[in-house]
């Protein structure tokens, strides 16, 4: 299009100046800005990190944003596992860069900080990576949805299954900060509720612990049947490796384990461990199809449940934006989240599902057992299914979470 002086003047006269200048660049297509705030360098880089950004882009590509009259811009940043860094980035994104949605945010401490900022600025926050069930409990708000899993789901699925199969006495090795304590607390409730008992626990310093042998010997000496690992990432990996090395005869309950952790452990060490994930790349045709599409973009790896959650949550957000209109979505984060709760969710990763009033995304929780090396057919063939907890039972009952959004 050639721009003559006459049309330029005519347009300038017709619209207010700021709209004119931005319109001249973007041709008036409304732009949504999505920020992926994740761990790009620390212990959660592999289970979230660059793979989460790839999953976000995958959602944009598959939804076909340009064909639907939208324009989406993606930003990403490393929160360094520090709540203050995460909150500062979130503030800058919302205030300076005009970001409308923040996704991912692995690490419970950072996740809670970002939830507060999203509420204050009335934007949208879809968390996939963090564990704490407080995001939909005492710390819930109208701008936040917790997408993939939480400490309650893990405790119920893994802890409950262990007690049912005879593991009625427990010893916990717990990372000494909010996440580990929440996980131990939630699991203890299930163990005791099912008639089991907790005979002891140790809280070890985080971060910086790499030798767990001392705690493992203490656990063994306690006489408990089950060893509950209330930790994550490399800590869990080292605990499991060393339990094998020291011939610990207890049953291991990995309360939070990701696909990438199993790869790091190797099947000869990890075999037989029972764990809970709400997504596994090989669990059905739709999940396999999604993984095949994403895999080439993440260096041939298979996506974790956190990365799948980023894909799923962004897809649902885009659907909602199509229904509401981009302008409204940009204007009011709480209204957008309210609309997202009205529309049923459905995607290749988690199948059909819904979002509850307290911001909890509902889908089934799956209990898996890690395969023996002989059973595995490929480099990422790790799990076999044990049990499924249906969506309506997998998470904490709505009235038990003390979320202020839930009116009794």
């Amino acid at each position: 299009m050639s721009l003559t002086r006459r049309t330029l003047l005519a347009t300038a006269a017709a619209v207010p100046a700021p709209a004119f200048f931005s319109g001249a660049r973007a041709q008036a297509v409304p732009t949504l800005k999505i920020g992926c705030l994740t761990d790009m360098s620390g212990p959660y880089k592999d289970l979230a990190g660059p793979g989460a950004i790839a999953a976000l882009n995958q959602a944009l590509e598959e939804y076909g944003v340009s064909g639907k009259g939208m324009k989406v811009e993606v930003l990403s940043a490393d929160h360094l596992n520090k709540p203050d860094v995460g909150a500062t980035v979130a503030r800058q994104w919302f205030d300076r860069d005009g970001v409308d949605l923040i996704v991912e945010v692995a690490n419970s401490g950072v996740a809670l900080a970002v939830a507060g900022v999203a509420k204050e600025k009335n934007k949208v926050y879809l968390n996939s990576g963090a564990a704490t069930s407080d995001l939909t409990g005492s710390a819930c708000n109208a701008n936040t949805i917790h997408w993939v899993y939480d400490t309650y789901m893990l405790a119920k699925s893994t802890g409950g299954a262990m007690v049912k199969t005879g593991g009625d006495s427990w010893f916990f090795i717990t990372t000494d900060y909010a996440f580990g304590k929440a996980l131990q607390r939630d699991t203890t409730d299930f163990v005791q509720g099912a008639g089991g008992k907790v005979v002891g626990s140790v809280a070890y310093p985080f971060p910086g612990t790499s030798d767990f042998s001392s705690y493992l010997i203490q656990a063994q000496a306690s006489g408990a049947k089950v060893l509950g690992l209330a930790n994550a990432g490399t800590d869990t990996i080292n605990s499991i490796k060393q339990a094998k090395e020291f011939g610990i005869k207890m049953r291991l309950a990995g309360l939070l384990l990701f696909l990438t952790d199993i790869r790091s452990l190797g099947l000869d060490v990890a075999q037989g461990i029972v764990l809970t994930d709400s997504f596994y790349w090989d669990m059905n045709d739709r999940a396999r199809a999604f993984s095949d599409r994403l895999s080439p973009k993440i260096g041939g790896a298979r996506p974790t449940m956190v990365q799948a959650g980023v894909y799923s949550s962004v897809l649902h957000y885009l659907k909602t934006a199509s229904v509401m209109g981009v302008a409204k979505v940009k204007l009011d984060g709480a209204a957008t989240v309210a609309q997202m709760k009205q529309i049923p969710t459905d995607d290749d990763c988690f199948g059909p599902g819904s979002i509850r009033a307290d911001g909890r995304k509902l889908h089934p929780a799956y209990l898996w057992e890690v395969k023996k090396p002989a059973e595995s057919k490929g480099p990422w063939d790790f799990y076999k299914p044990l049990a499924t907890t249906p969506a309506d039972q997998a998470f904490r009952p709505l009235d038990k979470g003390a979320c202020p959004l839930v009116k009794s």
Partner: protein, 295 residues
């Protein structure tokens, strides 16, 4: 069953032994630091990163060339040692005339760069390295189940530590090294190539770190942060033992491992801080460290 302070005896013996195993790593790492500081006057903050490189080189040798654990125990220190020599010649040697602080900052920066590169290439959750078949399994000691591999680690560490000590304190090469530290121009006047001696010393200190890295690979997952978990404690060990004291760092390394092990039984939350608590007390009582020489 006997109990000591309310803790069953067998459990306590087990913890002492575990402390000794961790102490073996502290001793090997602080030994390399002490050698480098003694000869080069460089506070080598890159030591943790070089330890990590040792483990990664062993993993790469196995993964891409099929070279197993025992050859890697020799090859990885040689490869990483050679890398250390290049580092010393091209970068670190420029700082000898400046204050210690510059060397510390430079090597700290180097360690961030090295760890960042490995994190970028191999991710952060770690890679598995199998315990070699001959060292698989465990021995029942009565009071605890002792993995054979850990026994091997202690044995290897003791042998390596004391041979290094013997080389420096009892051989003519060691005598030359010590003389060069005291008065480099004089030793050079006797026809000794002091800069080359210093380069090789740095290479040897780095090789020690890499050796410890290979020993650590099957115990901890091979991961880019494995060095930074150790390095703070190891520096405390060097300070407590007396900066630059070889024997001091070996004995302190094992000793602190045991103290840390006992803390894990009585009050696990403090196990990461107890080493620094000891450091404060020692520095108040003996500012030059346990084995440091008076100025």
């Amino acid at each position: 069953m006997i109990t000591i302070f309310g803790v069953p005896g067998p459990l306590l013996f087990g913890q002492l032994l575990l402390g000794l195993i961790n102490g073996a790593f502290y001793a090997m790492l602080s030994l390399g630091l002490a050698v480098i500081f003694g000869m080069l006057n460089i506070i080598n903050f890159a030591h943790g990163a070089l330890f990590m490189m040792g483990a990664f080189v062993a993993w790469i040798l196995l993964d891409s060339l099929g070279i197993g654990y025992f050859p890697a125990l020799i090859l990885a220190p040689l490869i990483v040692g050679a890398f250390g020599v290049v580092l010393e010649r091209t970068i670190i040697s420029r700082l000898y005339k400046l204050d210690h602080l510059y060397g510390l900052l430079l090597t700290f920066g180097l360690s961030l760069v090295i760890e960042g590169l490995f994190r970028n290439a191999y991710g952060s959750s770690g890679l598995p390295y199998r315990i070699p078949d001959v060292l698989q399994g465990a021995t029942n000691l009565g009071f605890m189940y002792m993995p054979n591999y850990r026994g091997w680690v202690v044995l290897a560490a003791v042998v390596v530590c004391f041979s290094t000590w013997a080389i420096i304190e009892k051989t003519s090469l060691g005598a030359t090294l010590r003389a060069a530290t005291e008065n480099a121009p004089l030793v050079q006047a006797f026809g000794v190539n002091v800069p080359r001696l210093i380069t090789l010393t740095y290479g040897a200190g780095v090789a020690l770190a890499a050796f410890a890295g290979v020993l650590a690979a099957p115990i901890y997952s091979v991961n880019p942060n494995m060095g930074s978990n150790f390095i703070n404690t190891v520096f405390a060990v060097v300070v407590i033992g007396g900066m630059g004291s070889i024997l001091g760092s070996i004995l302190t390394g094992f000793g602190l491992g045991v103290i840390e092990g006992l803390t894990k039984v009585f009050y696990p939350q403090a196990s990461a801080t107890v080493v620094f608590f000891v450091m404060i007390i020692i520095l108040l009582a003996r500012p030059r460290g346990l084995f440091g020489k008076a100025a």
